[in-house]
Symmetry: C2
């Protein structure tokens, strides 16, 4: 009784992630993913029901990685600010070479994928909400410790994503200036208003 290989599944996931980052979902061919994973095209369908299913797999996989980073850092003994900073830096480190991956995270980008939206909603949105909850928890901790202003932790978590996004844009090929990603985090922390 032969087993499907976890190894092969991961190879397909990784190949799909790479291709989706390079080209986007719609310009990604199953054939390309298969070739990059070193399997036959039909093999992809042994592990994933169809193309949208593969996409959902990739997105959940990415979000779980992002959450793992948060969890590891949340366990450290340092201030909430330092924790947010570390999550930020770690994420930047991971995605700097593939900024397009961020589109996997933003849901309104995924309105685009109408064919998978119901499935996306059922299987990815819960994960994404957990990601935001993880970030919210860090913010809540900071509020309780008097480090952060009294703001909605949920919105702050979402704004953190926006700041992360801006960070990637700020160093990107097309819109980049003389920035480092940390400057975007600085704006997130301190705002643009001058204190009086």
């Amino acid at each position: 009784m032969r087993q499907k290989s976890t190894e092969r599944r991961n190879a397909i996931l990784q190949a799909a992630f790479n291709t989706v980052c390079a080209r986007g979902y719609y310009e990604t061919r199953i054939d390309d993913v298969a070739r990059a994973a070193g399997v036959a095209k039909g093999t992809v369908y042994l592990y994933f029901k169809d193309k949208p299913d593969l996409y959902v797999g990739v997105t959940v996989w990415l979000i779980n990685q992002a959450r793992t980073i948060i969890k590891d850092i949340a366990r450290q003994q340092c201030s909430p600010s330092a924790k947010l900073q570390q999550v930020f830096s770690s994420w930047v480190e991971h995605l700097l070479s593939r900024p397009t991956a961020i589109s996997l995270i933003f849901p309104e980008m995924n309105y685009h994928h109408c064919a998978i939206t119901p499935r996306f909603r059922q299987r990815v949105m819960p994960e994404l909400k957990k990601l935001i909850d993880d970030l919210s928890a860090l913010v809540r901790d900071g509020i309780q410790k008097g480090e952060f202003r009294k703001i909605d932790p949920h919105l702050a978590a979402i704004s953190f994503l926006g700041a992360f996004h801006a960070a990637l844009l700020g160093v990107s090929r097309y819109l980049g200036g003389k920035n480092t990603p940390e400057r975007a985090l600085d704006i997130f922390f301190y705002g643009i208003r001058r204190s009086v």
Copy 2:
């Protein structure tokens, strides 16, 4: 000597904008756009070279609208902060019913559209850069008037886009909480750190 109708061109652009916002570029059929615009499918090709050309047209059109709003507001006699706030509110007002439009603005989302990326680069990126320059000018003004911290205006402009994005997410169907868009702007202005 018959002329092509500007009216018809705009109808096609508007229809394409609506469909792209509702479904994304790849789930948008030329047939759907034509029907929504009240023209035949082949007519679309009288005004736009091909599908990517239509997409570029829509994106440039949206960016120009966003810029018009900035320009109008920049002319008013009020503080730089108030100006940014008004741009923010006006944009929110325009896009609240179609948050997906924001994907037209963020370039790494458009890496997805490999078929149009070179064309996009040549025709849309210059407009997008101008949009960011317009915002940067407002920020620069605020810095000179002592209202804003000494930060890179360019990065602040990008962060403004990120904050705008977060605002839309914060009130969205999937990730929304009890927020108003203005709260995201508040975070952009004052950050999350508590002042000491």
